[in-house]
C-alpha cells in the first residue's frame, strides 16, 4: 500500500534518520534537486549508508536519482542499487528509451552484485511535456516500471506557464498520466502540493487527485502526510460496502444464483475488483495502524 510519498533531502541526516516515523507510506530520499552539485557525493554515500545500516520498518524506501543528462546518475545507481531500495525514481524521464537505458545499467549492477534481475523497481518521474506525451510508452517500457509520478513544478516550467494552486495548467497532464498508467496496469502518483501552510488547500488538491484516479500523492512536508493518507484511504462506508459485495457473492453462490444484485445494483467484475482493492487496503491499514481514522 502506497498512498503517500514524502520527500526527504538526501544530505540531511536529521531528516533521513527520522523518515520511518513520519507516517508516510514511502519516503523518497532525494539525491537530485535537494542536493547541491558540490554535495552529490556526500548525499550518495549518506543515503547508501542509511540503507545499509538503518531499518525502515514502517515505510517503503524510494531513492530519487539524478537525470540521465547529468554526470551523476550512474554513480547514484552504482551506490544505491546494491542496497536494494524498494524503488528508484529516475527524473526528467521523457521517453521509453530513457527508461531502457536506466534498466540496462541497473541490470549490469544487479548481475555484478549477484542480485536477481529486476530486483529493484522503478517509478519514473514525468516532468516534461515530452514525458507526458510519452507516458504510456514509458509505463510499458520495462517490467521494472511499477508506478509513475507526475512532477508539476518542472512540467509547468516546460509548458511555459505558471504553477497555480488550482492546477488548471496541469489538468491535461494529470488525466493523461492516469490514463496511461491505468492502461499499463501500474500505479500513478500526483505532484506535491507546495504550500506547506495551506491545510485546506492540500485536502482539496488530494481530493481532486483521487477523483481523477491517482493512487496517491507525493509531499514535500511531513505536515501533509496525514491528509494524503486519509484522503487516499477507503472510507468506512467503502469498506462496509466491499465486505457486503463479498457477502452477497457468497449468498448468491449458496442459492445457486448467477446474477447478483446489491442494493438494487448489479455486481459485475469491476465492482468485485474494486471491493477486493478496498479490502486489501483496509487490511493493510489495520495491520499498520489498528484501523481507519
Amino acid at each position: 500500500m502506497r498512498r503517500s510519498m514524502l520527500f526527504l533531502p538526501g544530505n540531511n541526516p536529521n531528516m533521513i534518520i527520522n523518515g520511518d516515523v513520519l507516517g508516510s507510506d514511502s519516503v523518497i530520499l532525494d539525491l537530485e534537486d535537494a542536493v547541491s552539485p558540490a554535495e552529490k557525493d556526500a548525499a550518495r554515500i549518506l543515503v547508501r549508508n542509511t540503507l545499509k545500516y538503518l531499518k525502515f520498518e514502517n515505510c517503503e524506501i524510494i531513492v530519487r536519482i539524478n537525470s540521465i543528462d547529468t554526470e551523476y546518475w550512474k554513480d547514484d545507481l552504482d551506490e544505491i542499487v546494491p542496497l536494494k531500495p524498494d524503488l528508484i525514481m529516475p527524473t526528467k524521464v521523457s521517453c521509453a528509451d530513457d527508461i531502457r537505458t536506466i534498466d540496462a545499467y541497473m541490470s549490469e549492477i544487479e548481475k555484478k552484485h549477484g542480485m536477481e534481475n529486476n530486483t529493484v523497481h522503478l517509478i519514473p518521474l514525468i516532468e516534461t511535456a515530452m514525458g507526458v506525451e510519452n507516458a504510456f510508452e514509458i509505463a510499458k517500457s520495462t517490467d521494472r516500471v511499477v508506478a509513475m509520478f507526475l512532477g508539476g513544478e518542472d512540467l509547468t516550467a516546460d509548458l511555459h506557464c505558471k504553477r497555480t494552486k488550482v492546477g488548471n495548467e496541469i489538468s491535461y497532464a494529470r488525466s493523461r498520466m492516469v490514463s496511461a498508467a491505468r492502461a499499463a496496469g501500474i500505479d500513478v502518483y500526483d505532484t506535491p502540493f507546495t504550500d506547506v501552510n495551506d491545510d485546506e488547500g492540500i485536502r482539496v488538491d488530494c481530493e481532486l487527485a483521487k477523483s481523477l484516479g491517482f493512487t496517491g500523492k507525493a509531499s514535500i512536508s511531513p505536515r501533509h502526510v496525514s491528509v494524503i493518507n486519509e484522503v487516499f484511504s477507503p472510507s468506512h462506508k467503502d469498506v462496509d460496502y466491499a465486505y457486503e459485495v463479498f457477502e452477497a457473492i457468497k449468498t448468491a453462490k449458496e442459492l445457486g444464483k448467477g446474477a447478483i444484485a446489491l442494493h438494487g445494483k448489479m455486481i459485475d467484475k469491476p465492482i468485485v475488483e474494486r471491493a477486493r482493492q478496498v479490502i486489501s487496503m483496509y487490511e493493510e491499514i489495520v495491520r499498520r495502524n489498528g484501523g481507519l481514522d
Binding site: 540531511n12 541526516p13 536529521n14 534518520i17 556526500a42 554515500i45 549518506l46 549508508n49 542509511t50
Partner: protein, 90 residues
Amino acid sequence: MNKIISSASAGTLESSDVYIEVEPSENNEVSVESVVLKQFGDSIVKTAESVLDELDIKNAKVHIIDKGALDCVIRARLETALRRAEKENK
C-alpha cells in the same frame, strides 16, 4: 593501500550530523570533539578507525566534530572526506 593527498572535509555542524576534516599525515590519527565525548568518544574513534581500515588508508589525520550523529552518518561523512582527499584540491 590507498593514500590521501590533500586536505578535505565533509558534513555539517547541524544536529544529528558530524563535521569531519582530514589531512595527509605520517600515520592515522583520530581526534574527536563532541558533547557526548565521555559517553561515546571511544566508540566514535573506533568507528573512524574501522572506516580507515575498510578504505585501506594509513596516512590520514582525522578531526571529528560530532553533533550527535549516528554511526552510519559518521561512517558516511568520513568516507566522503577521505574520497575527496584522495583527489588533488581544485
